[in-house]
């Protein structure tokens, strides 16, 4: 007993001696999507750490999950910079969780597309990427021409849809609603269609990172995903394709925001600026991770095809305005819980 106590005590002493050594360099804590962290680490995190002499601490999760944490920690923020879906950033801004970005501190601000400059108003966020949302599918098993094809017989029990709580969830419902001839903002036709086929849907995923995994496990043969997930899906050793449904594709924008009460304002601005730079945006684009918002980025054609590339493409996507999303989401969730989730 004595020896156990002794060794435990010495262990505790060692541990407490070791921890302050870690906290000496300045630390910037960022909250991002969990997808493609290896690529981000190489193209963004490590070069930035080398440049600023600081340590990046990365929290991952889906957008609403991390927004909930921001709200929970509002009194004593632990996050400095958050990457969120545009409507989540608007929600955070309205809840007073964000502070305006001083765009004069961003040397790359003028280089980004106009639609990315102030997407939620009040300089509360800048867009860092935009994406289309469509269907990935196993081309050896099925073919997808329309959003309705998600419910074809060959896919019964082999489809994953994003849960309504994710960023992609409402986007998927929106397009299915459109394919089903829905015309009302309550997306009733889309939700009804999904409800009718709910037993054919393997799971409603909570984080986009699950999709490549589910494909690899062969649990699913098709899923609705955002383009930012494509790189990880395309590199699977499987015949997977990106559908171009006749009804078109929807999409969204992801933005960077500074959390109110951050102790690292300077570093936060530097980090955002670096993320928007031509260098980083090019690297992330070349890795098929994020479509660039920096207009100066040029990528070869075969890469551009893998991305949602360029201002023209952005024009062609049916985005849902952040405010519309916020206004209707509660009603969508209620209808979803009534007909789909149960």
């Amino acid at each position: 007993m004595k020896t156990t106590l002794l060794s435990a005590a010495s262990f505790l002493t060692l541990a407490s001696l070791a921890s302050p050594a870690l906290a000496q360099t300045p630390t910037l804590t960022i909250s991002v999507y969990g997808i493609a962290q290896d690529a981000y680490s190489e193209a963004l995190y490590r070069p930035f750490e080398a440049q600023c002499g600081c340590t990046l601490v990365v929290e991952t999760g889906n957008s609403s999950e991390r927004l909930a944490k921001l709200e929970a920690n509002a009194g004593a923020p632990v996050i400095d910079v958050a990457a969120l879906a545009d409507f989540n950033a608007l929600e955070a801004a309205q809840a007073g969780l964000l502070q305006p970005i001083d765009t004069s501190k961003l040397s790359n601000y003028e280089a980004i597309y106009d639609f990315a400059k102030d997407p939620v108003g009040g300089a509360m966020a800048v867009g860092y990427t935009f994406y289309s949302t469509s269907i990935v599918y196993r081309s050896d098993l099925v073919s997808i021409e329309s959003w309705k094809d998600l419910f074809q017989e060959g896919l019964a029990g082999r489809v994953a849809l994003p849960n309504i709580t994710t960023t992609q969830g409402p986007l998927a419902i929106y397009m299915i609603d459109k394919a089903e001839g829905g015309t009302t903002p309550d997306l009733a036709a889309g939700i009804a269609a999904i409800g009718e086929h709910r037993d054919d849907i393997v799971t409603f995923y909570e984080r986009g990172s699950q999709v490549p995994q589910l494909l690899q496990q062969e649990e699913i043969a098709a899923a609705v995903v955002g383009r930012f997930g494509w790189a990880n899906i395309a590199k699977l050793d499987l015949p997977v394709e990106w559908a171009e449904p006749v009804e078109g594709q929807t999409g969204g924008m992801n933005v960077l925001s500074i959390v109110k009460g951050t102790q690292n304002e300077e570093l936060a601005h530097r980090f955002i600026d670096y993320w928007l730079s031509q260098e980083v945006q090019t690297k992330l684009a070349m890795g098929l991770v994020d479509s660039p918002v920096n207009a100066a980025v040029e990528v070869p054609e075969e890469i551009a095809e893998g991305l949602t590339y360029g201002a023209e493409t952005a024009e062609s996507i049916e985005f849902i305005a952040p405010q519309t999303m916020l206004d209707n989401r509660d009603a969508w969730v209620a209808a979803w819980n009534e007909t789909v989730a149960r």
């Binding site: 944490k69 819980n337 989730a341 149960r342």
Partner: protein, 275 residues
Amino acid sequence: MFERRGIGLALMLPATVFIAFGFILPVLILLAGSVQVGGAWSLGHFVEFFSSPLNRDVFWRTFRLGLLVTGVSAVLGYAVALAIVDSSPSAKGRLVGLIVLPLMISPVARTYAWVVILGRTGFLNVALTGIGLTDEPIRILFTETAVFIGLIQLFFPLMVLPLVSALENLPADVVPAARVLGASWFTIFRKIILPLTREGLVVGGTLVFVGSLTAYVTPAILGGSRVLMLETLLYQRVAVANDYASASVIAVILIVMSIATSVLLKRLATARGER
């Protein structure tokens, strides 16, 4: 018993204060949130919670799976415990060790094993299609069946252990005596074994039922968002919606169900025992 009450009190104080302020107080504040709407006392959150069909489904699913897991564990538990008690003393120790072993292993590791087994390309489906029992792989992962299997494996040992110790305390000669008198095996079980091991069954049943109600890892990994249980629903409400009202309601439901189960089962055991 020693007389010096002051010393006794002083010895109890640190643990009591720690648990009261570091544990009970925060939990009570959280629970209090369930009966307050905008500062006033109200059952509004409960009404709202149960008005959602999704929440009602999750509630009943949790209850149903809990009962099912407990029932199946009890039936199998008696069979296993009887076989263990029946074996030689040296084998007995080893068998109990084997039953205890899974309890010490990380539930995440335990549950993950089932992903490898129950998946579409998993061991079970490979085996089933291999011997020609099915043409198409069966869908098990992300269904209630998968959660059920995971929970049984997780909690079964908690049923067996109390049953083994209850059976060990059975007077050595009652079963042989009954058999000599010509009682059927079923009668022996119903009239002798069951009443005399009731306490073990109650302990095991409480552990398994409450464990299943409050499991998180298994429904999260094997069920996903299609097979929500109360704990995974609670996580989802908090993590994605910041909905503390629902979270506190679920917390109250889980704690009340846990306490009610143990009290009720204990009552049942003693009431029947007195007859």
